[in-house]
Symmetry: C2
Subunit: 273 residues, 2 copies
C-alpha cells in the first residue's frame, strides 16, 4: 500500500512520523524546503512526484488549499483520499460537486498544539486522541475502514463516525468558539502585567489565543453559520450575568452560576460513562 501525505505541517508531519513509528512508510508532498527537511530528518521515504502512484493519500492542508488539491489533481482509480481539515461540510460539498475516480473520506484528527509547522511534528501527537471519520451515503465502507485502520496505527485511541453536519456543529462549539473566546479574552488592557495574579485559570482560558489568523479565518469562513449560532448564544448568556451583576441581583447571579455548575457536573458524568 503506497501512502502519500500532502502537506507536511504539524498534522501531516506528525502523521508521517506516527506511521513510521508503526513501521509504515509514507511519501510526502509539500514545498521544496519542507520536503528537504522531511527527507533530511528521514520523516518520509521519498518526495511524491506522481500522485497516480498512491493507494492512500492524506491531504493535510488548510481548507481552501485542500479543496484545490482535491479537485485539481488526478489520483489512481479507487485510491482512498482523505482530507484532515477541521471543517467537513464545505470540503465534502466541493468534492461532491466534481466527478471523481477516487474514494473520498473526510476525517478530523482531534489533536493539535499551539505551534505549527514540520519542525513541531511529533510522532506521539495522536496518542489516545479521537479520529473522527465523516461519512455520507457515497462513502465507501472499505475506504473508511482503511483510514480507520491507519488511524489506529498512528496511535489514535478511538475512531468516531458521524456526518459532516454533526461534526461541524460540534466543532463550531468545542473548538472554533473556544479559539474566538480565547483570542478575544487576551485583548483587555488588564492583561498586561498579569503575571503573579493567576493560579492557572487565565492560562487555561488563553492557551489557544495565538491562532494562525489565515488558517483560522479559512476554517471559520467554511463553518460560518454554525459558529455564529454558538457565538450569539454565548454573547447572550454572558449578557445574563452582566444584567444580574449590574442590577446587584445576587439571587439571579447565584441561579446563573448554579445552572452552569449543574451543567458542568452533567458533562463530567457523560465523560465518565
Amino acid at each position: 500500500m503506497n501512502i502519500m501525505i500532502a502537506g507536511l505541517g504539524l498534522i501531516g508531519g506528525s502523521m508521517t512520523l506516527a506511521l513510521k513509528t508503526a513501521g509504515i512508510q509514507s511519501d510526502g508532498f509539500d514545498r521544496e524546503d519542507v520536503l528537504s527537511y522531511a527527507l533530511q530528518e528521514n520523516m518520509i521515504a521519498r518526495a511524491a512526484r506522481d500522485f497516480m502512484e498512491y493507494d492512500v493519500v492524506f491531504v493535510a492542508l488548510p481548507p481552501k488549499a485542500a479543496v484545490r488539491f482535491l479537485t485539481e489533481n488526478s489520483f489512481k482509480k479507487g485510491a482512498v483520499v482523505a482530507d484532515v481539515c477541521g471543517v467537513k461540510g464545505a470540503i465534502e460539498r466541493a468534492v461532491s460537486d466534481k466527478p471523481r475516480d477516487y474514494r473520498y473520506v473526510g476525517c478530523h484528527p482531534m489533536a493539535g498544539k499551539e505551534v505549527s509547522g514540520i519542525r513541531n511534528a511529533d510522532a506521539s501527537l495522536f496518542r489516545g486522541a479521537s479520529m473522527i471519520l465523516v461519512e455520507n451515503d457515497r462513502t465507501d465502507p472499505a475506504a473508511a475502514e482503511t483510514i480507520a485502520a491507519l488511524s489506529v496505527s498512528m496511535g489514535f485511541g478511538r475512531v468516531i463516525r458521524c456526518d459532516s453536519d454533526y461534526h461541524d456543529a460540534k466543532i463550531a462549539y468545542t473548538s472554533q468558539l473556544a479559539h474566538i473566546v480565547s483570542n478575544a479574552y487576551v485583548k483587555s488592557p488588564t492583561a498586561d502585567g498579569y503575571r503573579g495574579y493567576t493560579g492557572g485559570s487565565f492560562q487555561d482560558m488563553t492557551r489557544i489565543a495565538g491562532v494562525d489568523e489565515k488558517l483560522w479565518t479559512d476554517l471559520f469562513s467554511a463553518n460560518r453559520e454554525k459558529i455564529l449560532y454558538e457565538l450569539r448564544l454565548l454573547i447572550s448568556e454572558l449578557g445574563e450575568y452582566e444584567r444580574a451583576l449590574s442590577a446587584g441581583d445576587d439571587k439571579a447571579l447565584e441561579a446563573l452560576l448554579r445552572a452552569g455548575r449543574l451543567k458542568k457536573e452533567e458533562l463530567d458524568r457523560q465523560k465518565r460513562l
Copy 2:
C-alpha cells in the same frame, strides 16, 4: 508564635498541612465535624477556643463570613490577622471601618482546585504559586513580613505586593471573568455528547465552570464594578467577531484574530521576562 487558621476548607486546610510540612504547627477553628476530621488526621495541633491566644491568625473564610469574623471577634493586641479572600478592597474597607487592636494584612494565595473542602486539602497546593500581599498606608511592615515569611514556609514561589485596587482589577480579569466565561460556556445545548469532539480546547475552556455558586456570588458581589468592566469589554470584543462573521468579512475577521495573536505573543514575552 501561636498560629490559628479559621476555616479549614481547601485553602485553610492546605495551609495547615503546608505549615506542618515545614515543621510549623497551627491550631484550627471551624464547625465541629470539620475540626474532628482535622484532629483525627493530625492536620491541626488543637481546636482553637480562645482567639486571644494567637500571634498569627489566618482567616480562610468566604468574603462575608471573613468580614463578620474579623469585625465581631477580639484578638490579642498586636496579633497579625490575615484574611485570604479572593477580593481585597471590600474586606479592607470593612476592617478599616472599625477600631481594632490587631494588625491586619490582606492576602490572596494564587492557587486553587476545582474541588473544595478539607478532604481535598493538599500540603503542596501552594508550591511555586504567588502569594499576593495587599498593603495600604496603615499596613504594619513587620506584620506583612510575618505573613510573607510564613508564605515562603508554605511553599509559595514568590510574594507579590500591591494595593487592593490593583489586586481587585487584576483578579476581576484573570480569575473572576474566567469563571463567568467558563460557567456560561458549558450552557450551549451542543455541549451534550461533546466527547470525542475535542482535542483539549473545550476542557481548558470549561475546567473551572463548576463554581460553588454561593462562594462565587459572594466574591463577585464584593468586586462588582471591576468585573462588570471586564465582562462588558469581553462582550463587546466578541461582538466584533460576530459582526465580521455575520458580514462574511474575512479581512476584518483575520485582523481581529491577528490582533489577538499579537497580544498573546506579547503576554508570553512578558511571562518569559
